[in-house]
């Protein structure tokens, strides 16, 4: 079986398009790449001569840096275009941007954009491979893959685990990708948060909705908190961040109902004291920094695999 498997994807647009075998294969590949980042000379020639453009229409520190480090460690040439320096503010359409980029013959475009589906639009109009680095409230596949890698690394498996995702499920592309991904890999996903932030039809994605955060966390192997954006208060989706922290924030008392060896995750950046208390974020169970480390390995694996996985 293993020998017959071939990674067939030219683009990484979402977890939805990936099978469980694809995800397993990406995680295996990422694990094998992790060691490269621990060498004194952190560079392999695998993607030498390949051009990677990071096209970011939304601000990002961590994801963009992670992708850039991944590409550079693979010896690709990388270029960054951000919304403030791109033609977007001059009124150029995404399709025109795509056509212009195609003329410069890049191999991979990594795109982050506020509109859901924009990587799909780009993929339809460009010859290069497209990696979705977060589109609107749709998907964030590389984040989900690094989350799954971290869980598999810490727990030895994904199938059969109970994953609790707490917070703003409605506006979180990380939550959407993770619900789809962890469910595909055989885990059970329970979500909780203010009902105003739980979207219609989330059950059809595979998640169980718990009205009480205690029920979602009970017996969980993984507790993942999502970022709450301050402007949600005005929408009006939340009365206050203080009330959110009191009733939905992850604290030590709440964690007692989870499995004793449960791990704590957060896609960052954290609002300390809102989504989780300081002691939880920095405590023994937190794997938040491992997530960041694995992000580079997962992105190296994605770049490598969509380029055909050769010349390793």
């Amino acid at each position: 079986m293993e020998s017959e498997y071939r990674f067939q994807h030219r683009h990484i647009l979402g977890i939805e398009e990936l099978s469980a075998s694809d995800i397993g294969f990406i995680l295996d590949t990422a694990e094998s790449f992790k060691e490269i980042s621990q060498r004194p000379i952190k560079k392999v020639p695998t993607l030498r001569g390949k051009t990677v453009i990071h096209l970011f229409f939304e601000p990002s520190t961590r994801t963009r840096l992670s992708f850039e480090i991944a590409a550079k460690r693979m010896s690709a040439d990388t270029f960054n275009i951000s919304a403030s320096t791109s033609s977007a503010i001059k009124g150029e359409t995404l399709i025109d941007t795509a056509k212009n980029l195609t003329s410069m013959n890049p191999d991979i475009i990594v795109i982050r954009h506020a509109s859901s589906g924009s990587p799909h639009l780009l993929a339809r109009h460009i010859k290069a491979s497209v990696i979705n680095a977060g589109d609107g409230t749709h998907e964030h596949p590389s984040q989900s893959l690094l989350d799954m890698m971290t869980v598999r690394e810490k727990k030895g498996k994904i199938a059969g685990l109970k994953i609790a995702i707490i917070g703003d499920i409605s506006h979180s592309r990380v939550a959407h990708s993770n619900i789809i991904g962890f469910t595909k890999m055989g885990a059970q996903v329970q979500v909780s948060g203010p009902a105003t932030l739980i979207p219609a039809g989330i059950k059809q994605l595979g998640a169980t909705v718990c009205h009480r955060v205690e029920d979602a966390v009970a017996d969980a192997d993984v507790v993942m908190a999502l970022r709450i954006q301050k402007e949600r208060q005005l929408d009006p989706l939340l009365p206050s961040l203080r009330e959110y922290a009191t009733f939905f924030g992850i604290n030590r008392t709440l964690l007692k109902s989870a499995k004793p060896d449960a791990i704590i995750m957060h896609p960052g950046p954290i609002n300390r004291g809102v989504e989780m208390t300081f002691d939880v974020a920095d405590g023994e169970q937190s794997v938040i920094m491992d997530q960041v480390t694995n992000g580079v390995a997962v992105r190296m694996a994605l770049l490598y695999l969509i380029m055909g996985g050769e010349d390793r």
Binding site: S116, H176, A200, G201
Partner: protein
């Protein structure tokens, strides 16, 4: 195209529900007027007469689309009165009512006059301008209904910019009575739908797109029906798309309220699944809904709750449509596909041929209070001939409208208007 004073349409299946007729026959037009009807091959041709043998095709009163956007003045790159009415003729329509959301807004007699002047000079169909409910469609002050009516407007509407203020809606319903103008409501509670881009549900969540809940439509229809009942005025509800909307209109009709309603072919043909992977040609407002809503719309068409099929023909160029889904403009073109899409309901035995013609001609004429909808002798010869069997593929290069934003491109469609006649003049012929 045809300037012949006499035109004999022979050997047709004449479907004229206003006069309870569905039988084989001939129809003679002289000087733009329906002069005589008779049994098939019973009428003979006067001198200088053009004779067309219809070989059993349907001859019906000219179709009337009571809800289109012609984009002129202001957005002529999308559509003009000339191109839009040409598309209408190609789709079998002899008349259209055009919504006021042009630039400038049709909230005054000058814009209404401009539309009518252009339509008379360049149009291929009768054009009935719909004026704005409020000045500049801002929802604060009433537009000048008397002057709009005098210039030729047949109704007022807030299409595309729904009236949020209930007091203004009440005053519009009241004041429109002085000028015999129908109020057409685009019923949408914007605080619930704002920034939404597709139907709210599991699919919108999966795609990460902001949803428009069905209640955004229901709540405002309820308000509008309550106001119309309270002030005892008629109201017409535009483009209904949900099961609850059909139920509300049915209940109001059972109570005896003067309410009429329309839906569009896409709401009885497509569901939200058409959005697929961000297909902007499936983006419109109200959005495509669920299969359950679609079933309710079909039932409403069958049982008479819904009075009219109107296309909400909304041309947009690639500039508005070949963009990110949430940035794309709402609306699709519809004039050239309404006949085959409605005929699909006839083939599924949801509608009889007579009911189809009521929905596309008889009722729209009565609701708007305009000529047409009947093949009575002495009436203006506004006539559509439909070949219910003709099959064609709807290709982008064949689109007559100036814009091609249709989700039906590439579909194989059955049934087509093959001859369109306005006041005795042939405006379209494909036979």
């Amino acid at each position: 195209m045809n300037s012949s004073p006499a035109l004999l349409l022979q050997n047709a299946r004449i479907i004229d529900p206003a006069n309870n007729i569905d039988e084989p026959g001939d129809l003679l037009i002289i000087n733009g007027v329906i002069r005589r009807k008779g049994k098939a091959r019973s009428l003979s041709c006067p001198a200088n007469c053009l004779t067309i043998d219809l070989q059993g095709k349907w001859l019906v009163p000219g179709l009337i689309d009571m809800h289109v956007h012609l984009r002129e003045p202001g957005e002529e790159y999308k559509e003009t009165i000339a191109s839009g009415t040409k598309a209408a003729a190609a789709g079998g329509f002899t008349a259209v009512a055009c919504m006021p959301n042009t630039n400038p807004v049709n909230d005054n007699q000058s814009v209404t006059s401009l539309i009518l002047t252009k339509a008379a000079a360049e149009g291929s169909a009768r054009v009935y301008p719909v004026g704005a409910i409020s000045k500049n469609s801002k929802g604060t002050e009433l537009a000048e209904y008397g002057e709009l009516k005098k210039a030729g407007a047949v109704a007022v509407s807030d299409d595309g910019r729904p009236v949020a203020n209930s007091q203004l809606m009440r005053r519009a319903l009241e004041y429109s009575s002085n000028h015999s103008l129908l109020v057409i409501s685009h019923s949408e509670e914007v605080s619930l739908s704002e920034n939404g881009v597709m139907n709210e549900g599991a699919l919108s969540t999966r795609l990460g797109l902001r949803g428009i809940p069905t209640v955004a439509e229901t709540i405002m229809i309820y308000r509008d029906l309550a106001l119309a009942e309270y002030v005892e005025r008629p109201i017409h509800i535009a483009h209904i798309s949900t099961r609850e909307s059909v139920d509300l209109v049915r209940r109001a009709k059972n109570k005896g309220c003067q309410v009429t309603a329309e839906t569009a072919p896409h709401y009885f043909t497509l569901t939200e699944e058409t959005v697929g992977m961000y297909n902007t040609r499936a983006k419109m407002n109200p959005p495509l809904r669920s299969a359950d809503d679609l079933a309710a719309i079909r039932e409403g068409l069958r049982d008479g709750t819904i009075d009219a099929i109107a296309t909400d023909h909304a041309p947009h160029s690639v500039m508005e449509k070949d963009v990110e889904f949430d940035q794309a403009a709402n609306g699709i073109i519809g004039l050239e596909t309404a006949v085959p899409l409605t005929l699909a309901l006839v083939r599924e035995n949801i509608l009889t041929p007579a009911r189809m013609i009521e929905l596309l001609s008889v009722r729209p004429a009565r609701i708007l209070g305009v000529t047409g909808g009947s093949l009575a002798e002495g009436n203006a010869a506004d006539i559509t001939v439909i070949d219910p069997e003709k099959t064609f593929i709807y290709r982008e290069e064949d689109v007559v409208s100036k814009s091609a934003n249709s989700p039906f491109l590439g579909w194989e469609l059955t049934g087509k208007a093959v001859l369109t006649i306005v006041g005795g003049t042939i405006t379209f012929r494909d036979m």
